[in-house]
């Protein structure tokens, strides 16, 4: 059987999918399987979790970059399936995100945040440490409500603009 996707190579992989309760089956070649993201997932499930996770990440032959926080290379993360430190998520952010998406889907955190104002790294500003946006935003919104209550409208206008700017900045992310 010839690959139903590229129509060139012999099909080696069958993809069964259930969409709206209907089973569909596609036979594709290993190249297409890899391109469509099925390749590594069909690997050996008896592998330890670490290397399985490693398999979810794409390997690239780029010059070696080491995380400034812990000195790890991306290759080491790929091999062990373990990230070296919090900063790695910044250093290797782009290369880690396909794997994170494959595990969790295209989504972002909706749970609890640390109560204390946190310092986190901003991707746009590189390694600069800036206050965490959400808590700052919440704090400003609180100040705004208070300012309105106290009828301190001059302050409220300033805060409103700051909040607007922060929210817009956030949407660009």
């Amino acid at each position: 059987m010839i690959c139903q996707h590229c129509g060139k190579n012999p099909a080696t992989t069958r993809i069964k999918r259930i969409v709206n309760g209907q089973l569909s089956e596609t036979a594709i070649c290993s190249d297409c399987a890899r391109k469509m993201g099925y390749g590594p997932l069909l690997g050996d499930w008896s592998l330890p979790l670490g290397s399985l996770l490693g398999g979810l990440m794409e390997e690239e032959a780029e010059p070696e970059i080491r995380c400034k926080g812990c000195g790890i290379t991306f290759e080491e993360i790929t091999r062990t399936g373990r990230v070296g430190c919090a900063q790695c998520y910044q250093t290797f952010g782009q290369r880690l995100s396909p794997m994170i998406q494959r595990i969790h889907g295209n989504t972002s955190h909706r749970g609890k945040s640390p109560a204390k104002a946190q310092l986190t790294l901003q991707p746009q500003t590189g390694m600069r440490v800036v206050p965490q946006k959400t808590s700052l935003l919440e704090e400003k919104e609180k100040q705004l409500r208070q300012a309105v209550e106290e009828q301190n409208f001059e302050l409220a206008v300033v805060l409103r603009d700051e909040i607007k700017a922060m929210k817009e900045g956030k949407n660009h992310e």
């Binding site: 979790l49 996770l53 926080g69 812990c70 000195g71 790890i72 062990t80 399936g81 373990r82 990230v83 070296g84 430190c85 919090a86 998520y89 880690l96 794997m99 994170i100 595990i103 969790h104 889907g105 989504t107 972002s108 955190h109 909706r110 749970g111 609890k112 945040s113 640390p114 109560a115 204390k116 946190q118 310092l119 986190t120 790294l121 965490q132 946006k133 959400t134 992310e173």
Partner: protein
């Protein structure tokens, strides 16, 4: 006995099926590589920072937690911690640079330098998911007052394994499912649940036979769902499993052969001189079924829950102070413990 009861010695809400819950939160300190990238000196530093935060001057926790360096434990004591579900097997496999914070009733166990710097675990009897989460979250807040955690607004709490990103929360329930196991629906149920982002797997014992019909149901999704959402998903599914199990039990307990098995199991447990681990677990499971259905009167589920924990090899020999016991002596000890704890007179209905 003035010691407070341990969590596993009690019977909780929905205790006929739900044995216990555990809520785990993964947290990492800012400014330190994750444990996998720390050398011994680095791990020691992390230990010191956390110890200072939890047990240092003016700490509210000073009287609450015992500080247990894993390297200070005997092999038996360490394995017993695993048997009591307080730590992971991985945690005791490399003791260096690791410590456990343990509350007196053993319902709070914080692993330090396991996969992540901090793994808060709260264990409770029965189906008390929300309560366990509240306790874990309060402890998280209290620790956060003194420690800064690695967090990213989009990825949530940053963890060594990307699998735990987001809430870092894993909640699990131990369920006793003898009737569902008997009717052979566990495998199918487990594969259906995996599509919902939950996992159902054998929770107890080793090998395929010695499971005591105990299963662990846990959430797998940590990113994109809030803790409350994940917990209520888990609870909804758990309640469905509970209903299914109860329905199946009702039919099962009406059968004479089941009643016979339950009654015989109790007879063996109350009289045996030697009891192997696998046999004991199986018999306890049978008796638990009978007691939970009201067929056996006079056996408390709390007693059975504690026997499930206390009859495991390392926990069993821990009071003797022996690192190793010959097989027969171990079985003798187990039979003695079971006889003593099940000595009450048990009533059951006449057969019809």
């Amino acid at each position: 006995m003035n010691e407070p009861l341990k969590w596993y010695e009690k019977n909780g809400p929905q205790g006929d099926v739900a044995v216990s819950v555990r809520v785990r939160l993964a947290r990492n300190l800012q400014g330190y590589p994750f444990p996998g990238r720390l050398n011994d000196a680095g791990k020691k530093q992390v230990l010191e920072v956390i110890k200072e935060a939890v047990l240092g001057p003016n700490s509210l926790f000073a009287g609450v937690f015992a500080w247990v360096p894993v390297s200070s434990l005997s092999r038996t004591a360490a394995v017993s911690l695993v048997e009591r579900h307080l730590v992971s097997p991985e945690f005791i496999s490399r003791p260096q640079g690791r410590a456990l914070l343990l509350s007196k009733d053993e319902s709070i166990a914080v692993m330090i330098n396991e996969e992540d710097h901090i793994r808060i675990q709260v264990l409770q009897e029965g189906l008390s998911l929300k309560e366990a989460w509240k306790t874990a979250s309060r402890l998280d807040d209290a620790l956060n007052e003194r420690l800064s955690f690695a967090f990213d607004p989009r990825l949530g709490y940053l963890t060594q394994s990307p699998i735990d990103l987001g809430t870092g929360m894993r909640a699990s329930l131990v369920l006793h499912l003898p009737a569902m196991e008997e009717s052979g629906v566990i495998g199918r149920t487990a594969s259906n649940l995996s599509k919902l982002g939950l996992s159902l797997q054998s929770a107890w014992g080793e090998g395929e036979e010695a499971t005591g019909c105990l299963y662990q149901l846990s959430n797998r999704v940590t990113l994109g769902l809030s803790e409350e959402e994940a917990l209520s998903n888990l609870e909804t599914i758990a309640m469905q499993l509970l209903r299914q199990e109860r329905g199946a039990r009702e039919k099962l307990m009406q059968r004479l052969d089941t009643q016979d098995t339950v009654a015989r199991s109790l007879g063996i447990l109350q009289n045996a001189r030697l009891l192997g681990q696998g046999e004991c677990l199986k018999l306890l499971s049978n008796v638990r079924l009978g007691a939970a259905c009201g067929f056996l009167k006079g056996v408390s589920l709390g007693t059975l829950n504690s026997l499930l924990v206390l009859t495991q090899p390392a926990t069993l020999r821990l009071p003797s102070g022996q690192e190793e016991l010959p097989g027969e002596e171990q079985e003798l000890l187990r039979a003695r413990l079971v006889r003593r704890m099940l000595a009450n007179r048990v009533e059951m209905p006449e057969e019809i």
